[in-house]
Symmetry: C2
Subunit: 419 residues, 2 copies
């Protein structure tokens, strides 16, 4: 055990830990016979143990002081567990249907105990690769985003509550810096961490690094990411942070959470759906069996934004006379003006969403961390073809985002590339 009381768990130590922690023991019905413990961390950063006993189950997630994927050579504060548990609890309070319950948090051990999201839940990305439709996904994720973003913004919070929450999450700076590096910096420069499907995309990767307009626009997004404390973000809302069944949608892994621009979360989700779309040709058989599925992805993108828009505005209307101080009813006091401010707010948010979404796409093709959607396409030339289409679309979206005025236009632009 380290002098600070921290100790990396293994399966044996974990059982001792469970036994000595009443809130966790209780979840297992205090029944430790035939406990099944399995480390399943397929993520990049942390260790995740599924614990199943005869009388209950739970998941234990532990952060170690480095990045799991890379090893001890890339240190990373284990305090991220504190911020992850804070976001899980805050987002869980705001949207309990779509966030796993936290049973226990131990700041010294960097351990979170939470609900086991049981089978048939799978990681959404895997479902998308398998070509499975989730009819409620757009409805659920839009609910999660609308509620978590609205209720942590100045549309709902007082300045006092907002600034105190902002201050707390300034502490998660190491994770913010990691995002800055891997999303907004590395893909646009030569970096040892970058990789891409070589040699096919060599020229494409170079073109990203030499695109002045693209880099000009990325700077604007990066500055918003670093400076604009709009709402409490999940911070890493890609399709591997979502677990699904046809009936259920659960958002996990908000360790990158902080107060930032809302469009960063919405863009992460939509950008990863667009990646899934462009990867489909790599998974299709000769007969184009993924064509219907591609239409479903497009519909899901459309519905996600449109439902988010509707729900977010509904929350705004519901709380228009509430504690939020951004638009005082005594000032924004006529229907025309109320509709003008909402339109402006949502338009800016839409453009942020497209910009951040595009940036998240680009980094997954020429940056350090790739997505299984493409990685699972075995044939490199075929993979590169899919990736190039996605990359080119993302570059256009990032540069031209302010010329898009509705999600329909975005979906049309994507489908036009496929004709």
């Amino acid at each position: 055990m380290a002098s600070d009381g921290f100790q990396p768990l293994d399966e044996k130590l974990l059982v001792e830990y469970l036994k000595s922690t009443p809130s966790l023991s209780a979840k297992l019905g205090n029944d430790f016979d035939k406990l099944e413990v399995k480390e399943v961390g397929d993520g990049n950063l942390n260790f995740v143990y599924i614990v199943i006993g005869p009388s209950g189950s739970l998941v234990i997630k532990q952060a170690l002081p480095y990045i799991r994927l890379i090893g001890e050579s890339w240190p990373m504060t284990k305090e991220r567990a504190y911020f992850e548990s804070s976001v899980l609890q805050e987002h869980g309070r705001l949207c309990p249907d779509h966030v796993p319950e936290v049973y226990h948090f131990d700041r010294t051990m960097c351990v979170i105990g939470m609900r086991y999201i049981e089978p048939p839940h799978v990681i959404l990305r895997k479902g998308l690769i398998a070509g499975i439709e989730y009819p409620l996904l757009a409805d659920h994720i839009s609910e999660y985003m609308a509620r978590t973003l609205f209720y942590t913004s100045l549309l709902y919070l007082t300045t006092t509550d907002h600034k105190s929450a902002v201050a707390k999450f300034c502490g998660n700076v190491e994770l913010c810096r990691l995002t800055e590096q891997v999303v907004f910096s590395d893909p646009y420069k030569v970096s040892e961490y970058n990789r891409w499907t070589t040699p096919y995309l060599d020229a494409d990767a170079e073109a990203v690094r030499e695109d002045n307009i693209l880099k000009l626009e990325v700077a604007e997004l990066k500055s918003k990411f670093c400076e604009r404390a709009q709402a409490l973000l999940h911070g890493d809302l890609h399709t591997s942070s979502v677990m699904v069944t046809p009936d259920s949608t659960q958002v996990i892994d908000p360790e990158f959470g902080f107060y930032g621009p809302m469009g960063f979360d919405i863009g992460a989700f939509i950008g990863n759906l667009i990646l899934a779309y462009f990867s489909q040709d790599g998974h299709a058989d000769k007969g184009g069996d993924r064509n219907l599925y591609k239409k479903w992805i497009m519909k899901t993108i459309l519905d996600t934004w449109n439902l988010f828009h509707t729900k977010f505005i509904a929350l705004w209307d519901k709380h228009k006379d509430g504690s939020g101080e951004a638009y005082l009813p005594a000032i924004y006091n006529n229907p025309e003006l109320q509709s003008m401010v909402k339109q402006k707010y949502m338009e800016n948010l839409f453009h942020d969403t497209l910009g951040f979404g595009a940036a998240k796409m680009i980094r997954r093709i020429v940056g350090v961390a790739h997505v299984e959607d493409f990685e699972s396409i075995k044939e490199a030339s075929k993979r590169a073809e899919c990736e190039r289409k996605a990359l080119n679309f993302a570059k256009t979206l990032l540069k031209e985002r302010k010329n898009f005025h509705s999600i329909t236009e975005v979906v049309s632009a994507i489908e036009d590339l496929n004709k």
Copy 2:
């Protein structure tokens, strides 16, 4: 004495306090015979004592837990003294020529001991009312703004240092809320605190409250003020926070300091110069003896922005390979791109400056706190005429700010109103 150890000073208690505080005693050469103590707080919030002895001098500023101008009925955290002393020390480190040295800070007593800015220094606003030219003002204030804003922004700081400073100043939320209220809210609604030169400006004040476009734009500025942590602002940089002689410029009273949008400081200063300009006709004799002075004010506005621009860019160039992480040299790696990012950054900053400057003008004409520039015009009808011109210009500037592309265009627009 309150249970927290706080005690409001008076002139007698102050002398005891000085005697028992070594850092202050030393500044007075430990010579307390014939000490002259004078309370001079002409500001709205705090108590300021000038202390002059035979062997030294100093100023003591104390915050009480309410707003001095209003009294105990408007409580306000005395912790503001902590933030004021923090900004004085940080800005003083960055720009010692234009910030008074802090000798002592006592968080319990909310007392700052600082350099006495001796005569012939006067409050700049009083000099502007008297029609006195300050040939170095633009040079000095642009130096102050360029250095304090640049060095506390992400152009210079690492994300880590920036976020930790942002977190600290989130604590100054009560003062931020006061600004929100008096600058961005009250003038645009019916409020018991608002006043204006009645009956002359009754319709003008009402027009402000009924101007949808204006209120739409004010919302954008308010959201930037609340959400965008760009640099450590002074927070209240009007012409009564600056003391001047022809050779010296000293910036005082940064108790509203926090991490906010740079344009808020630059706009405060320039907006107050524009107010000074529009008040001149009220101070002129029949022969229009203030015409040359008005030209000097316009030139000072022009020089302030242009010199700020030059100095800010020079700092950026000087530190382009430094610790700042906003524009990594490996990404922003060619002269064309470097010039593009700077142009975009400065253009956005210019538009913020105009917007915030205009908002600061409006609130001084129809809000709670007015400026002596106008208040000292005895004849109400004449005062109202000056104020109306300023108000109309400010409304145009706020709404049309993005159509201005240089400070010359702004100055021309002001001068055109005077033809």
